[in-house]
């Protein structure tokens, strides 16, 4: 398998290209079609909204993309990441460090804030302590959390508020320098004030990172996204030009 540390360089290389291309993606439960067919592309550096009513299968699409579908569900259709077709079903960890999913509810592991920010990185990258620390600091800055935690990286992550936790999860993903970020309703588990801070962080990614943002809130998609992909309960989807 290729070395996984190449995420950053590939992103740079692909700035003008398409990071993820999805063609006729369907998700099936046995013979029953749950989602799709869905077709869309994520352009490098763009923020794309994936919206639709609850139950339409937005989160399921994200999980299908990174091979984390729940047991019993199947996927059909083609997915290309960085121009290469993805072969699913191999438990591909490399894929998931290239396209990183940030789940809806912030998950904080035991240990300090630093431990959490390093959580994925320390498995994927072989680097010196200072180098790792630098990458984590940069990620925390990018997620807009650095100023709040820089003085207490060694305190337990459980002491963070919900909004801070979500941004920590975002930083943890950013630290891997992924080709694309998949954000699954990043604000739905939060109160209004934390929602604003998380939205600010997501807005700051615009133009620098390739993001697919799932949201059931059209206003939020409007605020944060360059374009929108809509999934409906009717099992069809159409890309629609969105206000920039």
């Amino acid at each position: 398998m290729d070395d996984v540390t190449t995420g950053a360089t590939t992103t740079d290389k692909m700035v003008d290209g398409t990071v993820i291309a999805v063609r006729d993606l369907q998700i099936l439960d046995g013979a029953k079609r749950l989602v799709g067919p869905v077709t869309f592309e994520l352009a490098a550096g763009s923020t794309t909204g994936l919206c639709g009513p609850s139950g339409a299968g937005k989160s399921t699409v994200l999980r299908a993309l990174v091979d984390l579908l729940p047991h019993g569900l199947r996927r059909q259709g083609e997915v290309e990441v960085l121009g290469r077709p993805v072969r699913y079903g191999k438990g591909d960890a490399h894929l998931r460090s290239t396209v990183v999913l940030v789940p809806q509810t912030p998950v904080v592991f035991g240990g300090s804030i630093l431990d959490n920010a390093l959580f994925g990185l320390r498995h994927l990258v072989r680097a010196s302590r200072t180098e790792m620390h630098d990458r984590v600091e940069q990620a925390l800055r990018e997620a807009g959390l650095w100023s709040e935690v820089s003085g207490r990286l060694d305190t337990p992550a459980q002491t963070l508020s919900n909004g801070q936790r979500q941004r920590l999860c975002l930083a943890r993903a950013l630290a891997l320098e992924p080709a694309a970020l998949l954000l699954d309703e990043p604000t739905s588990a939060l109160d209004e004030r934390s929602r604003d801070t998380v939205e600010e962080s997501v807005a700051a990614l615009r133009g620098n990172r390739t993001v697919l943002l799932v949201s059931h809130d059209p206003a939020q998609v409007e605020r944060l996204c360059d374009r929108t992909v809509r999934i409906d309960l009717a099992n069809t989807c159409e890309p629609s030009p969105a206000a920039v």
Partner: protein, 610 residues
């Protein structure tokens, strides 16, 4: 022996107002609470009797504690009572058992919970639960017939009686317990932790190590401590293969390994031997035996209470800060997968092998004649009387234990303040973890000697009650805690008194869980041998059903298997033993399947029994 492992998240139970003594309601309220409190009283009483037995025993003669802990000479003739060799024996077999069982048990549990698809894992998990409930006498029989010859071949061990054989038997016995409890701990880790870790690009091995194990660690450790408690307290299975040689200690540190293939003695096998009968009920000899009992009880109590404590609510520790190398991630992941799935083969093979051996050698049991004709001692015949005796003991135990356990569970679940509930629960857990050999000895002194019952089926049934009561009580209490608070609120809003609340809300809500607990407890009691040998059962010569209480022993399956396997020369005797073992396994499996069925049907709280 019942021990809680998982406490429901809503720890404090509904707190009730004091029972009102409104007119017309008073007598019934008294009746309900009288019943409930007598349950809790029975738990305290058991503890009191047990401690009373040991303390009066020790007080009846002088115990030389220093010698008990440091000398290895045991000679009642010269009043030399040194217990060091037995302590060493107990330690050696338990360490051996843990060394063999823990890595395999943990790896198998991880494979079951993290690697196998649910469709495969579910039935396997159920089978391992069944394995965990196989009576220890059956493990002992397998030890004497299979493991002992194996050890004899392995090293130059005449007959194969050795610490090693005992260690292997115990390892086989506690592996299912460790797997079952660990799988529960792993399954309790929310899926979102796994998802969060997977979505950061971690391999399965890394996900398990960094995201799952830190959360499940305390529960998995509790599984080991429960296994250890079981191994420490087990008397009969060890008794059958250890050789029971007194005073054996390794001569030097280097001799420790060699000592493992020599016969030895443990605390439990000493107490299960003939000596408690010979020692009478007072004097230095008896006192020394009670001293051994105290040491054993203390060790087991520490393991059980610690094990149950370990799993409650402590937050997960940080994953180790060690940075793992990014090299060879995929090969490492693959190797780990193979190792873990491979570890699962062992319990699987154990299950298949045990069923195979039981069916192959105990095939006689599949013939109805074997079930319905009386025994002819070691010479053959059926086991009608043994089955009847076992059923009589179980039925009597169930009759006594159900109300007591139910009452205790209600008190723990509803009446007590959080603190008292914790104390009562810990006491109940301690009773559940008590080595049954000690229960048997206390029962022997109390009923058979002091009260003059002689060997009596009733004494046996009563001795088995403390095995069942904790399981019933803890299952009930757990179910009450999982009761939605609105139900309680609604009941009191309608003006129910607390006794009416118990009758019309708690009992209808909890009875399936309580029955499940009863069946689980009875499955455990069905295989108990050690406490019955002293108090209630004979091998041959008792009528099928006793006619009185005094001097009215019965025959029972565990005793039958035990005696026949000791006399392992004659092929008829061996066939009889295997047949009886199969019947006993079928009875426990029947009880357990009923319990699982009830549990699945009514989704009672999940409880673990050792």
């Amino acid at each position: 022996m019942g021990l809680t492992l998982e406490r429901p998240a809503q720890a404090p139970g509904p707190t009730l107002p004091r029972p009102s003594s409104g007119s017309g309601r008073g007598s019934r309220a008294r009746w309900v609470w009288g019943w409930a409190y007598s349950g809790i009283l029975s738990v305290l009483l058991t503890l009191a009797v047990l401690l009373g037995y040991l303390v009066t025993g020790i007080a009846s003669g002088t115990v030389d504690w220093a010698a008990l802990f440091t000398s290895s000479t045991w000679n009642p003739g010269t009043l030399a009572f040194g217990g060091l060799a037995m302590i060493y024996g107990s330690a050696a077999v338990c360490v051996l058992a843990l060394v063999l069982a823990v890595p395999i048990g943990w790896a198998a549990a991880i494979a079951l919970s993290e690697y196998l698809p649910p469709r495969l894992a579910k039935p396997l998990r159920l089978s391992i639960e069944l394995l965990a409930a196989v009576p220890s006498i059956v493990y002992g029989l397998i030890g004497i017939m299979v493991i002992r010859p194996f050890v004899a071949d392995l090293g130059d061990v005449p007959g194969g009686d050795s610490l090693l054989a005992a260690g292997i038997v115990l390892a086989v016995m506690i592996t299912p317990t460790i797997v079952a409890v660990s799988v529960d701990a792993l399954a309790a880790v929310p899926g979102r932790y796994r998802e969060a870790a997977y979505s950061l690009g971690l391999t399965r091995r890394e996900v398990v190590r960094s995201a799952v194990l830190p959360q499940a660690r305390s529960g998995m450790r509790a599984g080991v401590l429960l296994g250890l408690a079981r191994a420490l307290g087990e008397a009969i299975a060890v008794f059958m293969v250890i050789g029971r040689a007194d005073g054996r200690l390794p001569e030097s540190l280097g001799d420790i390994f060699a000592s493992l293939v020599r016969p030895g003695q443990t605390l439990t096998t000493k107490l299960a031997g003939p000596e408690p009968m010979l020692a009478g009920t007072s004097g230095p000899y008896f006192a020394a035996l009670c001293g051994l009992g105290v040491i054993l009880l203390a060790l087991v109590a520490v393991a059980t209470v610690w094990g149950t404590r370990g799993s409650t609510g402590r937050t997960a520790r940080a994953p180790r800060a060690r940075r793992s190398s990014a090299w060879l991630r995929t090969p490492k992941d693959r190797v780990t997968t193979v190792v873990r799935l491979g570890a699962l083969l062992l319990p699987g093979a154990l299950l298949v092998g045990m069923l195979g051996i039981l069916l192959a050698r105990g095939g006689a049991a599949l013939n109805p004649v074997f079930w319905f004709s009386p025994s002819e001692g070691a010479a053959g015949g059926g086991i009608r009387d043994q089955i009847l005796g076992t059923l009589l003991l179980l039925a009597t135990t169930a009759l006594i234990a159900l109300p007591l356990g139910y009452g205790a569970g209600i008190v723990i679940g509803t009446r007590a303040s959080a603190k008292t509930a914790r104390v009562l629960e810990t006491l109940t857990v301690a009773i559940g973890g008590t080595p049954t050999i000690l229960l048997g000895l206390a029962g022997y002194v109390l009923f058979c000697t002091t009260m003059g019952w002689g060997r009596s089926w009733l004494a046996g049934a009563v001795v088995l009650v403390p095995v069942v009561v904790p399981v019933v009580a803890l299952t009930t209490a757990g179910r009450i805690r999982s009761m939605p608070a609105e139900i309680t609120e609604a009941a009191f809003a309608l003006g129910l008194t607390s006794s009416q609340y118990v009758r019309s809300v708690v009992i209808p809500y909890t009875w399936p869980a309580t029955l499940t607990g009863l069946l689980l407890g009875l499955a455990r009691a069905a295989g108990e041998t050690a406490p019955l040998i002293f108090t209630a059962t004979v091998f041959f010569g008792a009528p099928a059903l006793p006619t009185g209480v005094v001097n009215a022993p019965v025959q029972a399956l565990p005793t039958h298997i035990f005696t026949l396997s000791q006399d392992s020369g004659a092929p008829e005797a061996i066939a009889q033993a295997w047949g009886s073992a199969l019947v006993l396994v079928l009875i426990t499996a029947g009880l357990l399947s009923l319990a699982v069925l009830l549990r699945n049907r009514f989704e009672g709280a999940r409880r673990w029994t050792t």
